[in-house]
Structure formats: C-alpha cells, structure tokens
C-alpha cells in the first residue's frame, strides 16, 4: 500500500535535528546497507527505510484496528499534535509520557537507559524503533485521539513489505532484550517489550510462534510475579506426558536405551529388582518384561518398585499401574511382584523402606528418567538421593536427563539456553509430520510449555526444571563413587531403528558420547542416557551381546 506524500508544512517537521539519535542509528546498523529512504530524503528526512518500514507497518495495523480511514492521508481529526517524526525516540517518549501517566518519569534518562539496554545486545540486534513500537502499541490499546493524529503525521511514509524472516530475527532479539531487561530489573522496559513480543510472534507461523508465545508468557509471569500454580496435579502432568510419549521419540528412546542397559546387567541373574524413581504410567516396563521373558535360559523373577508423587484425589495410581503390569506378566509368563511407594520427593526415601534383598539373591537396578534434576532445587537433595542409591547396592543405575544447561546462576544465560533448547524441541515436533490428532501435538506442546514456564518464571524451590548437561551429571556421579557403564552397540542399534521408524527419522540423530547415548535433532543433542555402577564392583555386562 503506497501512500501519497503529503506536503508537510513547516509545523514541527524540521529535518533531522536529533542528530544524536541518528548517530546512534548509524552506529547500530553498520550492516544494514546505509540507504536512506530516498523518498523521505527528498523531504529532508534522513531515516533508514528499513526502520521506517517497521514503524509504518505497525501503524498500518494500528489504523486497521482502530478503523480510522487514512487512505488519503488526511487526518479527520482536528486535534493535531505535531512531533518531529524523524526523531522517533523523542516522539515515542512523548507518547509514553502521555499514556503511561504519572508513573513514568518523563526524563530523558528513561530514553537513554532503554537505548543503552538495547545496544548492549551484541550484533545488529538493537533498534530504537523496537523500543518505540511498544509505545505505539500502548497508544493503540488506549485509542486516544492524539495517537491517530500522530499516526496521521506518519501516514505519508511509504510502506515497505516486511520480510517475515526479518521479523523472526527481531522476535528473537526482542525476547533477548526482554530477558536482559528482567535480568537488570528494568521492569518497565521488560513490560513494554513483552507486549511487543506478542505482536511479533503473531506474524510468525509454526514452531517459532509457539515457542515465542510460551516464552513471552513465562516472561510476563516473571515480570508481574504471577507465578504458575504449583504443578500439583500429577495426573494432569502424566496425561500430558503420555501425549508427549506418543508424538515424539524422546521418551521411547529413553526407555529403550535404559532397558537395554538394565537387560545386559541382569544377564545372569535369577531374581531381579528394578526400582523406578518415577513410575508414572509404567510405559517403560512392558518392553523390558518382554525381553526378559524371551531371554535364553528363561525369565528371571521380576520385582518392580515404583515411586510416585501423592495423588490429590487419593487414588492409588501406583497400584493401578502395578496391576496392569501384573496382568501383562501373567500373560507372558514371568513371575512378578510389585510395590508402590508414594513420596513427595525422592529425598524423602530411605533405602530400608524398599526391602532390598541381598545382592547374591537379587540383582538391583535403579532407573531415573528425568527424575534427578528436580532434586537440585533443594540443597542437599541430590546428595541424599545419591547416597540412598549407593545404599541400595545396585548393579546398574540408568539415568536419562535433558542435555541442556538450565541451571546456571545467571537468569539471562538460563533464558538463552532455554530458548535454543526448546526452539529445537518444538522444531522437531513440527518436523515430525504428526498429522493425526492434532490434540496430541497440542498437548505435547503444552507439556513442554509448562517446563518453559518453570525454567523462566520460577525461582528457588519452585524452579524444579533444573536441567544440567551430561558432563555435569558425569562429574556428579563420579565424585559420588560411581563409574560409567558403556551402553554398547545393541542399545545404539535399537535406538537408531526406533528413530528410523518415525516419519521424520532423518532429523533425529543418535550419538554416542563416551559410552552414553544422546538423542538430538539435527546437530543439537537434546536428551542423554547414561548408565552407572558402583565403582570397584565388576561390571560383567559388556559380554552379553546374545541377549537381545
């Protein structure tokens, strides 16, 4: 939509007087090809067309929303306030003063702080117009006459088509700017930016849009201190996790690789005991039981201890799962015993409760799939649990964790990491071509969205999604007295085959990393499976290749 130029009469529209602002514009955009908008240059404005385009697009949307007819650029409203349109920062500052009321200090310091903040972001990231846009947004939300008049003074700017990729880049940068503002406790700026993110996100599609929306919501919660209700309903989370299990291979990968390690550790045993730190729906165990049933030499007696959180409605979810597994065991001919333990936190467990039998009689395996990282929220939690594990004298401990560093001390670092991690995850969900029940996809995304909210918005004991990368878990386990067990080629084969079954099997990658297996999307590893034994004991598990 081209707009006709209007002759701008002298009022208030002197050519760029705010050379200081311009100077900053120039500095910040060294790569954007220093082209002034030619049409505006004719009128004496030295403004970059890319910046103007952004502003102009927003204004157009504003006008549509407000229903003001501005086609011919004639303002219908008598009340005109003239600002110097080339001085965007100053103009927006004035708007902000008007519309944010007395709470905003109308001093130029605000201006400078914001600019400083944005410029602190490396690269081509920071544009003053980004800051100005929230001002525009505030105006459109309040629909005051002044806003339309100010927009009228800018309607004569030509509109340049916005490239959505460019918007995508700006979206990321705005997210980062907002996080940085939160980091520096500049909540006013953060608030303005968060609103802007919503707008930018709506111009995107697909994974980027969803990720941005979740992160924006989490940031908003952090800014306004509306923390999400404690994820108290475990059955709700279980249901979401089931959908996640169905739509993508991460959990299946975790189960299959852990099972393989456990199977190999159980190779010669006649009685086996698995302690599952997070039983949930028990989806991991049917496959292990089947493999045990078909073991050459016959199945061992299989005992499962499942640990889970208390249910709000006092139903015994653990027993129900145990019952189902018992039915399966009976069908396939395995001697089976089940016990459920309800615990608020794994740190509350005492090994004596679990009725561990002597290792000569019964071989123990401990399984923790995404269950260890929440313990990092409480001081001493993880140490207690690790020492409990040692007291159980397991032959093997299988640990599956997210391969990400979401537990650093600096909020901004965590935010950046999480943004990359969850963007990749959402990409993989998108790319998996899950056409069926889009409800499944939506639920999986909600499952991930809750994690995002926890990483970004919560602090202290509430922040339980404290993911740490494999290297840190390795150090932790080794200092606690465990040594690694290599997962072996069977696990690798199973994992590769499993992934190849998925429609977008090409995108997923299995990597071996010092005996641990990592599943990732393209080049980014996302989850890691590792296996451990007590240092000083024999492993005896490397020999068995015939088992499966």
């Amino acid at each position: 939509m081209k707009r006709d130029h209007q002759e701008i009469s002298g009022s208030g529209s002197k050519p760029a007087e705010s050379s200081s602002i311009k100077g900053k514009l120039w500095e910040e955009d060294p790569d954007a090809g220093g082209m002034d908008d030619e049409l505006l240059a004719v009128l004496g404005y030295k403004v970059r067309s890319s910046d103007m385009a952004d502003v102009a697009q927003k204004l157009e949307m504003l006008e549509k929303v407000m229903g003001t007819a501005q086609e011919d650029g004639i303002s219908q409203l008598g009340d005109t306030v003239h600002f110097n349109p080339s001085d965007l920062s100053g103009w927006v500052q004035n708007l902000l003063i008007e519309f944010n009321g007395p709470t905003t200090t109308p001093d130029p310091n605000f201006n400078d702080d914001s600019e400083y903040d944005l410029r602190a972001i490396p690269g081509v990231a920071a544009y003053p117009p980004v800051k100005s846009d929230p001002g525009l947004e505030n105006t459109r939300k309040r629909a005051k006459t002044e806003s339309s008049s100010s927009s009228s003074s800018t309607t004569n700017r030509p509109v340049v088509l916005i490239d959505s990729q460019e918007t995508g880049v700006r979206l990321v940068h705005t997210l980062m700017a907002c996080a940085e503002a939160v980091q520096q406790d500049n909540l006013k700026l953060a608030d303005a930016l968060v609103k802007h993110i919503g707008l930018l996100a709506s111009s995107q599609t697909g994974a980027m849009r969803k990720v941005a929306t979740y992160f924006a919501e989490a940031l908003a919660r952090r800014i306004y201190r509306i923390f999400p209700p404690d994820s108290l309903d475990p059955s709700y989370n279980d249901k979401l996790e089931m959908h996640f299990y169905e739509t993508c291979p991460y959990l299946k990968f975790a189960h299959f690789t852990a099972n393989q390690a456990i199977l190999e550790a159980f190779s010669m045993a006649n009685r086996v005991h698995v302690i599952d730190f997070g039983l949930k729906q028990g989806m991991q165990w049917p496959a292990l039981m089947q493999a045990l049933a078909l073991r050459p030499g016959g199945p061992p007696a299989f005992r499962l201890t499942g640990i889970g959180p208390p249910q709000p409605d006092n139903t015994d979810a653990l027993q129900q799962v145990g019952w189902k597994l018992a039915q399966l065991a009976e069908r396939i001919g395995i001697e089976f015993e089940f016990r459920g333990f309800v615990a608020n936190s794994l740190a509350d467990l005492e090994p004596e409760m679990l009725d561990i039998r002597r290792p000569e009689i019964e071989v123990v395996a401990v399984n923790a799939v995404f269950e260890l990282h929440p313990l990092l929220a409480r001081p001493g939690g993880i140490e207690k649990v690790v020492s409990s594990i040692k007291a159980m004298k397991p032959k093997i401990v299988t640990v599956v964790e997210q391969e990400a560093n979401h537990n650093g001390p600096v909020f901004l670092d965590r935010f950046t990491e999480a943004l990359h991690y969850y963007s990749t995850l959402f990409d993989s969900l998108e790319g998996s071509g899950v056409a069926p029940a889009s409800q499944d996809l939506a639920m999986s995304e909600l499952y991930l969205g809750r994690q995002i909210c926890n990483v970004v918005a919560c602090e202290g004991m509430d922040r339980v999604e404290r993911h740490e990368p494999l290297t840190q878990w390795r150090t932790r386990m080794e200092t606690a007295g465990f040594s690694p067990v290599h997962l072996g080629s069977n696990a690798y084969k199973q994992a590769s085959m499993l992934l190849a079954l998925f429609a977008s099997g090409d995108g997923y990658r299995v990597e071996e990393n010092n005996g641990c297996l990592m599943l990732g999307w393209h080049t980014r590893p996302l989850i890691a499976t590792s296996a451990w034994r007590l240092a000083g004991t024999e492993s005896g598990s490397e020999l068995t290749q015939e088992l499966s």
């Binding site: 089931m242 989806m283 069908r331 001919g333 590769s496 085959m497 079954l501």
Partner: protein, 159 residues
Amino acid sequence: MVQNHHCEGHETVGENKGKRPKFFINDHVDILIEILKRLDGRSLCVAASVCHLWCTIARNDSLWENLCFRHVSPPPSSVRSVVLALGGYKRLYTGYVRPVRSRLGRMRKASWARDEVQLSLSLFCVDYYERLGGSNSSRRLVGESSPLSLMFLCKPVNV
C-alpha cells in the same frame, strides 16, 4: 483351463462345459497351505478374501509366524507362547513387523533382520499393555490398528 484361483462352483463358460477340471486346489489343502506359506503379507491378505476355505487357512497363525521370521533364524520356542499371549502372529505382523520392515528398508542391513523382529516384539508388547485397562480416555482403537502411542507406525511414509 485349470482354474487355480477361482471359487468353486462356477463352471467354465465356453467350450469345456460339464467337464470338471482334473485338479482342483481346494481338494488338496496341504498343498494349498504350502503355497500360501510362501506368500508375502499383502498376497496373504488378498488370498484370505478368495473363499471360505482360503480365509480359514489364511487366518491360521502359523502362516503369519512364517512371515514374521522368514528372514531370520528360527526363534526360540518361548517366543511363540509370548506372541500368542500378546495377540498372535497376524497382529504382530500386520501391526509391527511389516511397518518396521518397510520403514527400515532403506537402512537395512542383513544382520539387522533379527533386531527388527526384536524391536517389533517390544513394540508389540507395549501395544498389549496399552490395550489393557484403557486408562486414558483418549484412547481409541480403530479396528486392528495400534493404540495411539504407536500410531507413528501407521502413518504413511513418503519414501
């Protein structure tokens, strides 16, 4: 004029009316079984729709067992009881072995044939477990197809 694959009861229209063919396959069920044993999955399903006798034979699980383990060395005998308990070879083949084989076709190595069957068996077991109890209300089983957690096996693949 030997009508090997036509239903019995229809005389040949044309010259040799009234003359029964000398060899009619449905009289020799053992040979029929031997032939059907060597068919691939799709043909076996087609054969099942020929006539009642063929249908009965094709439903026999041992034919499907052959299909499942065709390219691998014979499995230990314990496998049979497990598979039968979990739903039978036909279900195993149509739900799991066939999709797994076709999907993995491009990365097939001969040595992985056994692992393919193993993987199919594991998934088959998960299938059975999910069909127990119906805990989640969102479960819907469409005929013979697998429950939702294994739906990825039923999706069409753009090869």
